[in-house]
């Protein structure tokens, strides 16, 4: 009797779609985190440090080892309170 290969198409489809969705999620997460694994279990301290990293480097996952901060860092946390002219 010939093998009912048409019946195996849904299984193949399931496997492919599962793998595709997983890969897409992983790639998307890595792209948002500059290619590094995502940070989990973040507490308010980590949130504060990541916000500081964003002010220093422009991205929450950006890192730098400069001892001196760039110009404008000392007051950049106050920007949120700046009055806008709109």
């Amino acid at each position: 009797m010939p093998v009912p290969w048409e019946a195996l198409i849904p299984f193949g489809l399931l496997t492919t779609m599962f793998a595709a969705a997983g890969t897409l999620v992983n790639v998307s997460k890595r792209a948002q985190n500059q290619g590094k694994p995502v940070r989990y279990g973040i507490d308010p301290w980590d949130e504060m440090m990541m916000e500081r990293d964003r002010r220093l480097t422009g991205h929450v996952r950006g890192q730098s080892t400069e001892p001196i901060a760039p110009e404008g860092f000392a007051t950049s946390s106050a920007w949120y309170t700046e009055k806008t002219s709109i």
Binding site: P37, Y40, M49, R52, S64, E66, P67, I68, G72
Partner: protein, 155 residues
């Protein structure tokens, strides 16, 4: 209504409408981000112990932001000094360690293999030892245990 303007898109630097008085000396802020800082944390504790203790005791008297500015400046300058020295002497090991931390959710126990060369280099070049305060007497500090029980997920 006011629209939210992201500060990073601004073309001009922020102009502080109420700057500190001229009598307050200026200090440049520390530019190190979270992962290198976490990597250097115990060495900052060893190198800058006096200034850090001074600042914390001063703050424990009065939590007012304007109270301990002098001690705070000293803390910042000491940390900058150490980061500069670390970069001069142990840059390769330092970079490897904080990159490892950055990829492992900033957990020390997942980066022990990379930490050992850094500790060795810091001890040889700068004489700084990583000590974990509060380790029970007679027990080996966790960063010196060769075969720890809790390690990361097998990759």
């Amino acid at each position: 209504m006011s629209a939210y303007k992201d500060p990073s898109t601004s073309s001009k630097p922020y102009r502080d409408p109420t700057p500190l008085p001229e009598s307050v000396p200026k200090v440049q802020e520390l530019g190190t981000t979270s992962a290198p800082l976490k990597s250097a944390a115990f060495f900052i504790g060893a190198y800058c112990k006096d200034y850090n203790d001074d600042f914390m005791l001063c703050k424990s008297e009065d939590r007012d932001p304007g109270h301990c500015l002098k001690e705070g400046r000293r803390v910042t300058r000491c940390a900058q000094d150490l980061i500069t020295k670390m970069r001069e002497n142990c840059l390769a090991d330092f970079d490897k360690h904080w990159n490892c931390l950055e990829r492992n959710n900033h957990q020390y126990n997942l980066c022990r293999k990379v930490e050992r060369p850094l500790n060795k280099c810091m001890f040889e070049k700068l004489g700084l030892v990583k000590t974990i305060p509060g380790t029970p007497e007679g027990q080996k500090p966790i960063h010196e245990v060769e075969k720890p029980i809790f390690t990361g997920v097998q990759k």
